[in-house]
Amino acid sequence: MLIDTPQFGKKHRLHERIIESVMFLFALFSMLITVGIVVILTRESFLFFSDPKVNLVGFLTGRDWQPMIDQFGFLPLLNATFTTSIIAMLLGIPVGLFVAIYLAEYANDRMRGILKPTLEVLAGIPTIVYGYFALTFMTPLLRSLFGQSRVEIYNTASAGLVIGILVLPMIATMAEDAISSVPKELRLAAYALGGTKIETTFKVVIPAALSGLSATFLLALSRAIGETMVVALAAGAGPKLTANPFKAAETITGYIVRISGGDVSYNSVDYNSIFALGLVLFLITFTLNLVSRKVSTIFHQEYE
């Protein structure tokens, strides 16, 4: 016999078992990261909240954040975070969506061949570069447009707009995916009824892609909320509760990076506060990500 023929009885393929177990452990490792994040953030936050000067209600409702003098209201940071993110979305969503529509419905292959790599380049640029861009280009631009006296040198508008540019490629590519995956038959149906291209796009294609698009927008929002370097460089370095986007204000991420950039003293309330804020940030983005996934699975079900 050329090949020795064992019985059918199960051969104990030990190394196969070992390999499978190792792979399984690797897969579990990612779970460990999440657990690690949650445990670390909650543990340190617990230390923060167990500080006698801090209380949860004050944290959630206080209008001043200055841990050094026992002001622990995170609203100014949250407010700035949302200000920059909303500005980012105001720029990123329409422009990104329109670019996506252009790519999916209008551009010919050659145009797409130029635009997609362009977007990839834009997406691949490190965020620190965007921060630098905000500081050296966007802020001076805003100040010359709206007046030096109205626009502070650090302001949430500049940071927000640049974050909008930063998330634009992500929105454009994901939105294009969502739009392109709308079945072609729907477009044909609309055209066959005498719909123009724009009517077809806005009234048939976009509504059909809506859940995919909203998932994209939520993910982009989450990305904007978590963005750090742009706000660290351009938004300002002092917590401030203001609705005016031309004023400086500090975001959650900006505060974390400022405090840790100045190094954090062990066991100080500052050190614990960045973990508490990290927890807030994690909860916000985690929720957005989950909702976004949920929304996009709904989308997939619709077409099956």
């Binding site: 001043d64 200055q66 050094m68 003098i69 002001q71 500081l135 100040r143 030096q148 006296s149 502070e152 040198i153 650090y154 300002g236 370095a237 002092g238 401030k240 004023k247 400086a248 400022r258 950039g261 100045g262 190094d263 954090v264 003293s265 062990y266 500052d270």
Partner: protein, 312 residues
């Protein structure tokens, strides 16, 4: 804790020691120094230490030297609590409780005075009205006042924008001690406040508006003298003469700190401090600060000699 008995070490064991030292210190031959030196602390002292480190290297030092600009407080933290660093840079003297902490980990901080900073209170050069402030006005400007006209009715009724060093910085501590009697509360509850350990953030911010004001180490003003205006305090300008004769109210000492044990076990640290103390006066002006007065420098040299006594 507490300082241990210095171990008896043979004289002249350090190959880098040579003749021709400055002012009683042994001479240093950087070519013979290697091994790493870890420093962290004040962003005010940072440019000076950076300059000294660079010169040390240019003259032949072949080890690794790191300088983290994280603020005096954090620098002491790393030096006295974590025990991570060999040298702490500071723009204020070490506090009693920091010495306490150091003792906990068996360190005994030794202070070396390296220079003097005139803390600069600056406005943008677009600001044409402010020239001088009394100390009381200064206190008001950085706390309760909301418009410039509240300081001086002749000044515009415009909101004050404040840019100050972060709470971990020695500059902040010094200012709150000097101007606010060690109570940071009013300063931190002021409106339109920006805090940063990065002095450029402050410089850019102050440049950005005629109604902005801020303070930081003199060197940062010197670098940006063309776009910033420095205010005189109580009518005294920040100048070498006024710093030397002690009339400028916001002049403050710059230090580096180390520990006897470290200097003995890591001779490169001792060498660097020796080198630092020997040549700092040649570099300090270029960096934008002022030389410390001779007595203070001499105290540092004596401290060095005492710490290293019998080891070279």
């Amino acid at each position: 804790g507490g300082a241990k008995e210095p171990e008896p070490v043979q004289k002249n064991t350090f190959s880098w020691v040579e003749d021709g030292g400055v002012a009683g210190l042994p001479g240093v031959n950087p070519l013979k120094v290697s091994g790493n030196i870890i420093t962290a602390g004040s962003s005010t002292v940072y440019p000076l230490s950076e300059r000294m480190a660079e010169r040390f290297k240019q003259e032949g030092y072949s080890g690794v030297i790191t300088i983290d600009s994280i603020g005096s407080g954090a620098g002491f933290e790393r030096f006295t609590v974590a025990g991570e660093t060999d040298i702490a840079n500071a723009s204020r003297a070490i506090k009693a409780k920091e010495i306490e902490a150091a003792k906990q980990i068996g360190r005994n901080p030794i202070e070396f005075r390296v220079g003097t900073d005139a803390l600069a209170v600056v406005v943008s050069n677009q600001n044409t009205f402010a020239k001088n402030l009394t100390k009381d006005e200064l206190a008001k400007l950085f706390s309760t006042a909301s418009t410039w006209s509240e300081i001086n009715p002749a000044w515009p009724k415009e909101k004050i924008q404040r840019f100050i060093p972060g709470t971990d910085s020695g500059t902040f501590d010094y200012f709150s001690e000097e101007v606010f009697k060690n109570n940071p509360q009013p300063m931190l509850s002021a409106q339109n406040l920006q805090l940063s350990e990065d002095d450029n953030i402050l410089v850019q911010g102050i440049k950005g508006s005629p109604y902005a004001v801020g303070f930081f180490g003199y060197a940062y003003y010197a670098e940006n003298a063309d776009s910033l205006t420095i205010l005189s305090i109580n009518g005294v300008e920040a100048s070498k003469a006024n710093v030397d004769n002690g009339t400028y109210p916001l002049a403050r000492p710059l230090y580096i700190y180390s520990d006897e044990q470290i200097m003995r076990t890591k001779p490169q640290v001792a060498a660097f401090i020796d080198f630092y103390l020997s040549y700092v006066n040649e570099e300090v002006i270029g960096v934008g600060y002022f030389p410390a007065n001779e007595d203070e420098l001499e105290k540092g040299r004596q401290a060095w000699l005492k710490a290293m006594n019998g080891t070279y």
